[in-house]
Symmetry: C3
Subunit: 181 residues, 3 copies
């Protein structure tokens, strides 16, 4: 996919995305991301930042490790968001913690966030991840956590490499920006 068509798709899928004139010219910069979280909300920053940077001409690598490995599964419908422990989450009505632990509340918060994102035209995690794949973002799954949590790499999307922390530094050491998410 060409950079200009990636720009157009990002403008379409990420409301608020603003292309910078001339930005794709700085083709040498590199962004390294460590993606460690696997909830519906925290799954967004890695793929939004990676696809945006790729559109700007950056070379990008995401190292998925710890709970972040959840983001590599082909089917992401299992991802959930929890209001527990995060009083900063905007809720439609103020809700006591005691109510949030009731059966079904996590599912309800997840549905609410998904339908709000749909209504606002925000792309799904799968779509943004696909943008990353098309933009040739390099995706690596952390070997240690794959072993520890017994992930089956056959459940991952195609083209995922396995690597250790040392392999990550090979890319991060040359990167202009490194983010631990």
């Amino acid at each position: 996919m060409s950079l200009s068509s990636l720009f157009r798709r990002l403008n379409f899928t990420v409301p608020g995305f603003q292309a910078l004139p001339g930005a794709p010219d700085n083709g040498r910069e590199k962004l390294a991301i460590v993606a460690t979280k696997g909830t519906l909300d925290w799954g967004y920053p890695p793929v939004i930042l990676a696809s945006t940077a790729a559109a700007l001409g950056y070379g990008v690598e995401i190292f998925f490790t710890f709970y972040g490995l959840q983001l590599l599964k082909k089917d992401l419908s299992h991802l959930r968001v929890s209001p527990l422990g995060n009083p900063a989450m905007p809720m439609p009505v103020p809700m006591p913690t005691l109510m949030m632990v009731l059966p079904g509340m996590e599912g309800m918060a997840t549905s609410m966030m998904k339908s709000k994102m749909k209504a606002k035209g925000v792309a799904s995690l799968e779509e943004l991840r696909e943008l990353c794949v098309e933009a040739e973002v390099h995706m690596v799954a952390g070997q240690m956590t794959v072993d520890l949590f017994e992930f089956d790499s056959a459940d991952f999307i195609d083209g995922i490499e396995l690597g250790g922390a040392a392999a990550f530094f090979e890319f991060a050491g040359e990167s202009d920006i490194t983010l631990f998410i």
Copy 2:
């Protein structure tokens, strides 16, 4: 505000702050922060690091996005801290999780943290944010999340710019330090 008076105020408001002799001379360095969390505790790192770096002569930008937008509201009295899901939080007495979900416990943890900070002479989030404003820290609100969570930018403090992830990379790409908080 001059750098030396900023230093003096930081020495006053952030216990443990240590000015480095000669540090303000390295006026060319840049720090980019992505502030994504909106609880009372996680609101501190962005403004402490930003104001400290500004006092050391850094150019600083904070990109507020996701739950981090809560930190831009004029009135921050709604920010809370939750002990749920964070067994690392020092509690005055060990407390079973079941008790932490009872009505009023989040409010109690919030009051306790606030009064401890006051007793120890730690500045409030509003004061530290004001230090950032005075030190000309550039503050940007992420357009996508503003739209998604229906934040009203009229609720934000003055001087906040709206921008997308691409605009963030314009600054981050030139920064010496980039932190995702």
Copy 3:
């Protein structure tokens, strides 16, 4: 400890660690980590990344602050992991939130993670921290949080320096990679 023996120990203690041929030659690079979390799971990334980078020849500093100060205590047996608010945590059986708040569940999740790590041959946090000490990773405790949460530095392992955020920037400003964990 020589770099080659550190490599061997990392290969032994961190499954999935892969030494890069020739990597120890790039001895000038620097990694700065801010370690802010103090749970059993989030204690791993700082010490794994720091010890790996040190083995690759990096100069490494970890600035422990906020809940991250828990990681400096001599005895780490108090560290816990909580499934609350983290629906991404792989659980042996799906479990409703209501059940997770019952007495003993946090302790059970902690035991389960520890025994899984042991079974998979992952080193303990204490062992990985010891690797960092041997590899001369520079460890600093954030003065402000030590004061705020009334940590007793006598409870910390030996060789920990106290410092403020400004001191951290002295190292971070020269680092190739800076991670906020």
